[in-house]
Amino acid sequence: MTAVHDDTNVGGAGAAKPIAEGETPFRRFLNDYAESKVAVGGAVGVAIVLLIALFGPWISPTDPYDLASVTFMDNRLHPGGTMGSGVTAMLGTDGLGRDMVSAMIYGLRISLGVGIGSGIIALLIGVSFGLCAAYFGGKVDTVIMRVVDIQLSFPAILIALVLLATLGKGIDKIIVALVLVQWAYYARTVRGSALVERRREYIEAATCLGLSKPRVIFGHMLPNCLPPLIVVATMQVAHAILLEATLSFLGLGLPVTEPSLGLLIANGFEYMMSGEYWISVYPGLALLFTIVTINVVGDRLRDVLNPRLQK
């Protein structure tokens, strides 16, 4: 059985058909996409988030993890307060005297790094297995898809909890856990569309021409499976970031010395009652903004890339 776990999995079960034959010009795609103003806003938001993360160390007012410059004498400053070094803490400081703006920029880098990093690895693994399953069929397909089905019948958080309970904390460990949680989605998606592709004439033609298997799989099948993959990948990155934040909140994700946005929220939880709302509210808003914009983009991509839903 294939449980639909959340409707972010388009593409499974043959739901996603490739874009109409011949090519859809990129421009048309852009025009379609831009029809929704919300979606344009989402794309701009994602761009901003990515730029901040990319140029973080250069735009961050301070280095929040440099023990030589951070001092606990600055702790719990209100937004707009001035730190001992003369820098203004726009969004206040946390319990250790770190500037919240800087901590959030560095936290965003870790959140995105974990989300995108694990997404790429999971994509590579999932796509390889999915394509193999579709191309070879038979036993290979049965075994791979059985594993995928079993895994997808359990919620991601449960699997991640188990893994982290046994792996311990650390960036590397949470990436391993997130990869293991995500790969099955990619495998199922790519297999679904590859099965459709496999029956098409151009694959038959390529096979008849005597092209090598890997070449047929990766050179010809894969590019045609891309649209649903892009949609799933977008949604999965958002999902991974959210999952990492949740696990970190539960005390199972990252070590406190490498705080992601999720861990910043968790740390700020402690100050919830004492009036220092900024320590957890702002990282929460930043996390929310990041995930909403990614999901808005993903949602639109699905509509645009998936003609079936456009009636």
Partner: protein, 325 residues
């Protein structure tokens, strides 16, 4: 059908063995439960005695075989922390978690389906667009953060609802439930809404997608042509047809709610299985972690099985076999 069920059960057994082995071996690579439990001023001999009494002095494979042996007789071992049967601890807390999950599911359905149908019927109205955008928000918000904000707002600032715990319970068929007392109900509201948020978005989307598919089908057009009232068309014909996918998915998602209640229970100190799991991970209480996993895996297999069988009964076109998507 029998073959199908047997194959499913074998599959479940395999998953359970793999999971138990993983957890069994992994937990102790992380830390040492004895260090966690022992009194500060216990001497080394005392520590050794505790290690021995927990059976941790044996080599790993012996510990595991002993566990399997006992598990086959229905004994999942004693919790390290409480020295009570791990399974009993879990069953003791199961009603709280189930109550929370059911309440969340109800909230999601009662609010989600009307919104979803509306969004499907009037796809281009601004209301529908708002609903759909809000539903993106619904599965984007970090549950735990929203929980914190809910406590801050409703419990602390407004003082309307209690912040933690389960409240008064009464027994219903021998099971303690809290929704039948006013105090219990007040305690239930915030966590249930918190847990429901994510599923709510999903229900909205499912109902909308279902509505949009059905609306264009002939029997709806025919009903319209016959002059049936819109209310009747929506209430009877449309509703019946979108409910099948919704119910199926929700059946499967119930397990997800149970797993995800770990987060909500932690935020609201709801005394359910999820909180027990997190506490047990904190204490490296291996027997409880393993028992929880096997229990939940079993539960999932059971739910999936029931949903599949029901589905085949409801819809004769579906044959029970391993569906190859």
């Amino acid at each position: 059908m029998t073959v199908f069920v047997i194959r499913r059960l074998l599959q479940a057994a395999l998953v359970m063995i793999i999971m138990s082995l993983l957890v069994f071996g992994g937990v102790f690579l992380v830390g040492d439960p004895v260090e966690m439990l022992v009194a500060d001023d216990a001497d080394q001999a005392e520590r050794q005695a505790i290690i021995k009494s927990m059976g941790l002095d044996l080599p790993f494979y012996m510990q595991y075989l002993r566990f399997i042996g006992n598990a086959l007789q229905g004994d999942m071992g004693n919790s390290f922390v409480f020295q009570e049967p791990a399974m009993e601890l879990i069953l003791e807390r199961m009603p709280a978690t189930f109550e929370l999950a059911i309440a969340a599911l109800l909230i999601a359905v009662v609010i989600g389906i009307p919104l979803g149908i509306y969004a499907g019927l009037k796809a281009d109205s601004w209301m529908s667009k708002t609903i759909m955008t809000a539903s993106i928000l619904g599965f984007s918000v970090p549950t735990f953060w929203v929980g914190i904000m809910m406590i801050l707002f409703f419990a602390v600032i407004l003082g309307w609802l209690p912040s933690t715990g389960r409240g008064d319970t009464v027994e219903l068929f021998g099971i303690p439930v809290s929704f039948l007392t006013l105090d219990g109900l007040q305690h239930l509201i915030l966590p249930a809404v918190n847990l429901a948020l994510f599923k709510l978005s999903m229900v909205i989307r499912l109902a909308r997608a279902g509505t949009r598919e059905v609306v264009h089908q002939d029997y709806i057009k025919f009903a319209r042509a016959k002059g049936l009232s819109t209310g009747r068309i929506i209430g009877v014909h449309l509703f019946k047809n979108i409910m099948i996918p919704v119910v199926t998915v929700l059946g499967l998602e119930f397990g997800g709610l149970i797993a995800f209640s770990v987060v909500t229970e932690t935020v609201f100190a709801w005394p359910g299985m999820g909180k027990l799991l997190i506490d047990s991970i904190g204490f490296l209480d291996r027997p409880v972690i393993v028992a929880y996993l096997l229990f939940v895996v079993g539960l999932f297999v059971f739910i999936n099985l029931v949903v599949d069988v029901l589905y085949s009964v409801l819809d004769p076109r579906v044959r029970l076999q391993e569906v190859k998507s």
